[in-house]
Subunit: 401 residues, 2 copies
Amino acid sequence: MVFPWHLNAHFDGFLWTLSIHVPFARYVAMNKIKTIKRYHIDRVYRRDQPRMTLGRYREFYQCDFDIAGEYDPMIPDAECVRIVYEILSQLDLGSFIIKVNHRNVLDGMFEACGVPPEKFRSICSSVDKLDKTEWEEVKKEMVEGKGLEEAVADKIGEYVKLSGHFELLEKLMSDMGLTAVASARAGLEDMKLLLHYCELFGVLDKVSFDLSLARGLDYYTGVIYEAILTGDATMKDGEVPAVGSVAGGGRYDGLVGMFDPKGQHVPCVGVSIGIERVFSILESRAKEAGGKGIRTVETQVMVASGQKNLLEQRMKVCTLLWNAGIKTEMLYKRNPKLLNQFQYSEREGVPLLVIVGEEETVKGGVKIRDTHTREEDFVEMAALVPELNKRLAECQHSERV
Amino acid sequence: MVFPWHLNAHFDGFLWTLSIHVPFARYVAMNKIKTIKRYHIDRVYRRDQPRMTLGRYREFYQCDFDIAGEYDPMIPDAECVRIVYEILSQLDLGSFIIKVNHRNVLDGMFEACGVPPEKFRSICSSVDKLDKTEWEEVKKEMVEGKGLEEAVADKIGEYVKLSGHFELLEKLMSDMGLTAVASARAGLEDMKLLLHYCELFGVLDKVSFDLSLARGLDYYTGVIYEAILTGDATMKDGEVPAVGSVAGGGRYDGLVGMFDPKGQHVPCVGVSIGIERVFSILESRAKEAGGKGIRTVETQVMVASGQKNLLEQRMKVCTLLWNAGIKTEMLYKRNPKLLNQFQYSEREGVPLLVIVGEEETVKGGVKIRDTHTREEDFVEMAALVPELNKRLAECQHSERV
């Protein structure tokens, strides 16, 4: 999927991002697109002042997945959950939960509790703080800061404790206060479909319908998501704790129309992955595990030599392996020291070395060295590529490549 | 290789690119790096006025490969040639040639011909036009525009006709005028090594040592490269001709020092691929071939159904295939029309469909449909994933995926 990014260069020189989903919605509107599905990993730009000490720069990476188009209810919405599930599972970030809720259920809840409509958004932003703040404090903000009756706040307090799957749904569907609100009923029907589809997609065990989830962004019109890492909070000082939000999003059916001169309506749903956060967690985990951080090269084989005047030999072997599609490197020295080549492979996590030597050349072959076990075996040249491929497949299997 | 791009956001808001190699050299200098090798595909920004009619925007994509560090002569330089060779071969852009030359050979040639030293750069930029302009016109510019003696221009004219491999090298090495210039001798020694290494890397047949190659950029200090597509110049009106320069670069040993306050010397060599040009060629070729353009999705299997009320079945099959790592899609409709699913697969080049049906479900399986041949076969559910993997491997083999 290629983004015509040059279009962006003409908003006073650059496209500044306002928030997740916004650049996508603008793109859909500007290009009069009716259906599209795309992911996108790229730099975006914040217009506010950089705060370098907090690692908050004007420029940062964002990773989004969005689906635009008029479809049947909750099918793309459920696929978004599946995608977040796949990403977080494959990144191996530890245990996680994908919280889901619905704008209409939230609004219905506020109405059922007796929140005046003009306070919905303001009370919603208080609820949004529940992932970091205790209920008592949030309640205080609602009552003292925002003038909500204490009895109303207490009713909200009962709801936002709730999370679950179908049993919660049943409970809410038999809640007369809530189901008196038509939009809440529709929201609950949506959630029922979503949970059902999540079950079919094999991800329900990681999904939690959570009434305390209230993302602050005004433009959400349906389901909202937030993925939270829940694992291993017992980390040492200075380490990035692998807990907290790593993805969020939801349905925003009105946003495209805001950017289209004719107000064309294109419903959208999407998720943004906190990619910079994910990287720092992965980096700190990798350091903790092996002290080496994450691999920054994909090299599979280092072609090495411990004797002099074997540069040409090494080059020929590189050519052979490159032609076979094996990711191969050699040091750019005429006569590098063997130790340097071993150290490079260990430092960069290159799993295998091919060692060229005079003795082996006479015998028509080379040695293969396993960086991990340090074992070395002679292989005839004709058998080299198949043998490397076999070992690389094994490495992959044991997750060492 | 992760670039700390946020650093760039602090040159008056953005990093403007001046030319290829410059952002990389600046990065190496700013981070006091001694050795690094990296590729980079990203947007860069030109400070000059956009000319939209020429497709010249402030923002465009650049794809570079650079190697920095103190190494033995011509080893990284030859790897750059191999990398360009691999990229252009794998992109299947038709026949190409990688022209190589050397700054010192060029300067030596000018000296041997009797060009006054203060005119080297100016005459060099005339030579640079030879890929697009006839010699007679270039000569006219040299003599009438730049005041070069005609006899001197004629001597240059004899040199810039020359191209070849080792036989050209021999000829030049026995050229008394040229070898009287010490730096030219050193340049020829470099070229001898380069051609030898290119032979070892299996790419010499695509390399041409070409004395007419003179890249305009002042900062090159050694080898210079330019890759030219040579194939199929007989195209219809309005089509992008698949000829001309698609990559260029060279050695620039002094550039890092210009950005380092202490003038730290880090030799570099690198190549930039004209990625926007490459894309437009690939697109126009693909359209010519099949009328469909290049695939923008990687979907391998579309899970489809022609009967009603099989959404849940489709979702389950998607889950099965996703779990098996197969790139799978289904339409986000409850009851999509079978024809729409066929058309989508044909339009997007999805090679296989899995068709869910009541009859097949009773028999415990599904049908697999080949988008290309339109043949359909029943497969039992337990055999589905292995069968799809087998067929996808075949598709890959016949380059249809």
